[in-house]
Amino acid sequence: MKLLSQRVRNLLILFAILLTLASGAASAASSIKVFGAASLNGALSEAARIFDARSGNHTVPVFASSSNLAKQIMNGAPADVFVSANLSWMDRLARENLIEPGSRVTFLGNSLSLVAPVTSKAKFTWGADALLSDLLQGGRLAMGDPDHVPVGMYGKAALEKLGRWEDIHRHLAPAPNARAAIAFIERGETPLGIVYASDLVGRGKLREVARFPETTHPPIIYPLALIKGRATLAVQAFVTFLQSEVGRAIFARYGFLPPGSD
């Protein structure tokens, strides 16, 4: 320490104090960390806000693609609650024994929508003979990457079921997550896209061209679970709130379906 000047030493001490205070502040309040699929952004944030106002807790939602969140949890990320956009990642966490037993529920449902920019005049029905690729007119169809992004995987399944996959799969613009896909469509860079029906709510720049029938894809289920060892009273209270009438109403407003409905 003799090598450091007085000034540098003072700065280091100050830094150490601030660091302690900061970490102290973080652990002082009982903060609840919720890892949620990207498509839940608006709804889950509002639910968290209302819950905090009612209960005096501090809920921190974290949004990303389900695959990224699951991998982070598998690598020790401090999540309390996980809401995934598909079953496979929740199954994976269950296999890794990372979920609090008995805490898993089927939380939300959703449906799939074929959309276009709001300025587009495109029309399409699934029964017709017309090719989906003709509608593109040289452009592309934006969707989450069908290899790993949940909304993309559902979209591919649906297109395959409807016999449209062969025609369209070489004209895709695979996006790294649902948000990126929406950005392409909203900006008019792609004449068509596939998004969750919930993504249409509150977005003036998107227009639904056709809804994918429920039968064409595996049920879109958002499972919710507590992470093992994090089941504090506050966390339990939050999960209860989400599934309460008030909670469900919030998600309904954002275009989500109750689980198992049609």
Binding site: S65, S67, N68, S88, R92, G139, R140, A142, D145, D147, H148, V149, L172, A173, P174, A175, P176, A180, A183, F184, R187, G188, E189, T190
Partner: protein, 230 residues
Amino acid sequence: MFALSPLEIEAIQLSLRVAGFAVLACLPLGLLTAWVLARHEFFGKSVLNGIVHLPLVVPPVVIGYLLLVTFGRNGAIGRWLWETFEISIAFSWKGAAVAAGVMAFPLMVRAIRLSFEGVDKGLEDAARTLGAPGWWVFLTITLPLILPGVLTGVILAFARSLGEFGATITFVSNIPGETRTLPLALYSLTQVPDGESGAMRLVVIAVALALIALVASEALSRRIAKRMGG
């Protein structure tokens, strides 16, 4: 032994093409920008310098989004390009090249600018006293002397372009055969539950490509230095 799958070959070819064009496109503008910054004082110089360095300090996704807004079909410049020349770079390897080029640009400018500043102005003065006009001095004295720096800039830019991800995927998405360069292919594999082994293979390939580029540049640099240093 280490046979490459068609998918891997496709990704490598695409990466080389994208990085190659990115560097070629950067070079003239990079030279000019480095020359302006190294040799001139003018109002707004620090602003220009800031803009040039933006891709270094701003998240690549942001740059990708800016490119989308500017060069997409409906973007400010993209629309004009399409209407005037029927050129569209959206969702194509050209767009990937632009994204890579933009991200690599500051590295190239820095290296070349440093080189310009290292040129002994006395040599340029000497050339002028021998009767050479300014532009001839630039061609015959300055350019050969900044060659090592230009080479460094090119290699750095090439390596950066090979590894470009964030701006690319945000601007032109992840289209196999068109924009799925090595980094994007790697990303796809890491997102899929059993893609780990495939991802590792791509990592090895990417590292090998980068090493080859660096070794080649090192060898070239040494040859040039030898000629100059006797």
